[in-house]
């Protein structure tokens, strides 16, 4: 198993390499450049040229990429933002915390709702609870998160004045735990609704398939309580397909952060991504892309490892890894 994980991480290196090349090229093909954001068009051409040389934007694209890569590989350095002159690594780290907090909470809450509700729906198929859960899940999937977010802000912030509409802490406030929690409530509700909505259905259908299996009849024939038959014998088997879907939730959440963090002005990776794209901050965009690619690869690896943990029939061998 350890062999397999190491091998998968080694395979990830060329993938990351490819991702950065493609990103670099696409970014340079897009119109605009950080120069447009930094200097006034009234400045003389010589001054603009000097700025270009300073940022290294005068050399050909492949040379620029080479410099970027050399810096990363030799020094582990993602460079400096072309707009704020802050270290990119530092910026990403400081924005990572809020995003992980938001996404992590939503993922945990979403799963904590989806699994029990999905199991209950499956064991009471076609009951009122089942229909309610399925309608709720349908809404969770189909209502766009920006719409739900704006709706919640309108009701709870503008009308009722119960909760803050944006930010992570009150400006100028002490920024305690309670303050952060109050700011988290609305964005977490939005993200949890979509996570739970998507996954209740997966859990339900996965459970329904398992509920007809003969080994559950064996478990009942042993005299096992129905609760344990469902939650021990059926659940362990239903988890296998669910793990795959949950692994995919992490990249989905990471991408969804862009929209949600923008709506709620949450100071996370999504906000940083959007603002750096707006200002064509090349070095920050590259850094963020690298992190995003890394998250996706890591989530996939995590899924495969969890897979082997929940299903004893899967054992990753050295040969098997070569194919995947």
């Amino acid at each position: 198993m350890l062999n397999y994980v190491i091998r998968r991480i080694l395979i990830a290196i060329p993938v990351l390499f490819g991702v950065t090349i493609i990103n670099f090229i696409i970014m340079r093909m897009a119109p605009g450049s950080p120069i447009d954001m930094l200097v006034s068009p009234k400045l003389p051409a010589a001054a603009i040229e000097a700025k270009k040389v300073e940022l290294g934007l005068n050399s050909p694209v492949y040379v620029q990429y080479y410099h970027w890569l050399k810096n990363l590989v030799l020094h582990g350095d993602l460079g400096y933002s072309m707009i704020t002159y802050e270290s990119v690594t530092k910026m990403i780290w400081s924005h990572m915390g809020p995003t992980v907090l938001l996404m992590g909470t939503s993922l945990i809450l979403g799963v904590a709702i989806a699994i029990p509700l999905g199991v209950l729906s499956a064991t009471r198929q076609y009951s009122k609870l089942d229909y309610t859960a399925m309608t709720g899940s349908f809404l969770g999937i189909s209502v766009p998160s920006f719409f739900l977010g704006l709706g919640l802000i309108y009701i709870f912030s503008l009308q009722l004045h119960w909760l803050p509409s944006s930010g992570m802490t009150v400006l100028g406030g002490s920024g305690g735990v309670v303050d952060v929690l109050r700011h988290m409530i609305l964005p977490v509700i939005v993200l949890t609704a979509s996570v739970a909505g998507r996954n209740v259905r997966y859990v339900r259908s996965s459970m329904l398939e398992i509920m007809g299996q003969e080994y559950l009849r064996t478990a009942r024939a042993k005299g096992l309580r129905e609760f344990l038959v469902v939650n021990r014998h059926a659940m362990r088997n239903a988890l296998i397909p669910i793990v795959t879907v949950l692994g995919m939730e992490i990249p989905i959440l990471f991408g969804g952060a862009v929209v949600i963090e923008q709506i709620f002005s949450w100071p996370g990776i999504g906000q940083l991504t959007l603002s750096s794209i707006m200002s064509r901050d090349y070095s920050t965009i590259m850094g963020l892309n690298l992190v995003a690619a890394f998250v996706v690869i890591l989530a996939n690896l995590l899924t495969d490892v969890l897979y082997a943990l929940v299903d004893p029939r899967i054992k990753y061998s050295y040969q098997g890894a070569a194919k995947s």
Binding site: T218, A221, K222, R236, N237, P312, R313
Partner: protein
């Protein structure tokens, strides 16, 4: 005790009814299921769980899918033992290994740690037997335990069940459509047709003097080694009535060569024709005499 009959005539449903494991879409309308003076139908679900796996155990037809694929054999055995005894994990594990040894599995300590996918069908059925007999039940219901197995393994499994049950003092209800197995293992035989018992008798009477035309048909359908090689295989014409067909009169009348007008409209009852021999047929006499003329039943 063996229950025989064609596919779809209610053998398995009878077994599941005894265990009260029929599922949501069915219920037991009337009648009693009595074990040691207790009517199982009057017990609540919790009391019933005490009975299942403890006083009545069950072995299923499909050993390949009857064990949970994500738990080890040991886990599933220990779970069954601990449900009905107050042994701790170590003792339960020891009894599980003991049982696995009894069913003739090699290296039982190793098998305890194996997952079901590592075992063959015959081995899994042995595990099922070990698990079913672990709590020394009064009754073991075996629902076609050998149907999915190789012929060579079938005989071993049947012999094993017979020996172990004799040792523990467990009665077997064997559900099968293999009359060879019936002849080998059974004392009494129930013949079922379309959800009803049509004949009940001891195993010798069944093979010598079958009363019901359906039983006679079943016995005639058995292949014989000494038959002419170009003799046609006998079968009962038609098939078991489906649940959509109305069941008026005798349920077998449309496939019966002795059927009269009376059989079409009047359902027969289970009547004792001799001591310990019950038959559900209006024309027992006619059937019996013609059976004798055609050279008696099947000698086995």
């Amino acid at each position: 005790m063996a229950i025989v009959g064609e596919s779809g005539c209610g053998k398995s449903v009878t077994a599941l009814s005894i265990m009260r494991l029929l599922g949501k879409n069915s219920r037991i309308d009337h009648g009693n299921i009595v074990l040691d003076g207790t009517n199982l139908l009057e017990l609540n679900e919790k009391q019933m769980q005490e009975i299942r796996g403890n006083r009545i155990s069950m072995i299923f037809q499909e050993p390949m899918t009857s064990l949970n694929p994500v738990f080890t054999i040991g886990y599933q055995m220990i779970e069954a033992i601990q449900l009905h005894t107050d042994q701790d994990k170590k003792q339960a594990s020891a009894s599980a290994i003991e049982m696995l040894k009894k069913v003739g599995l090699p290296r039982p300590e190793r098998i305890m740690k194996d997952y079901p996918f590592a075992l063959s069908g015959g081995m899994r059925q042995r595990v099922m037997i070990a698990m079913a007999l672990a709590c020394k039940p009064k009754v073991l219901i075996a629902d076609e335990p050998t149907t999915a197995l190789d012929v060579t393994v079938q005989a071993q499994i049947i012999r094993l069940m017979k020996e172990l049950c004799a040792e523990v003092g467990t009665a077997i209800i064997l559900i099968t459509h293999d009359l060879g197995v019936v002849a080998e293992i059974a004392d009494r035989v129930l013949v079922m047709y379309a959800g009803q018992v049509v004949e009940e008798t001891d195993v010798f009477t069944l093979f010598d003097r079958p009363g019901h035309p359906y039983t006679q048909g079943l016995l005639r359908s058995v292949l014989h080694l000494d038959a002419d090689k170009d003799a046609r295989l006998v079968s009962i014409p038609g098939s078991v009535p489906t649940m959509y067909q109305s069941l008026k009169g005798c349920r077998f009348h449309n496939r019966c060569s002795y059927a009269t007008e009376h059989c079409l409209s009047h359902p027969p009852t289970l009547e004792a024709t001799q001591q310990g021999h019950w038959t559900r047929c209006w024309e027992v006499e006619a059937a019996a005499s013609s059976e004798r003329q055609s050279g008696g039943g099947v000698s086995s």
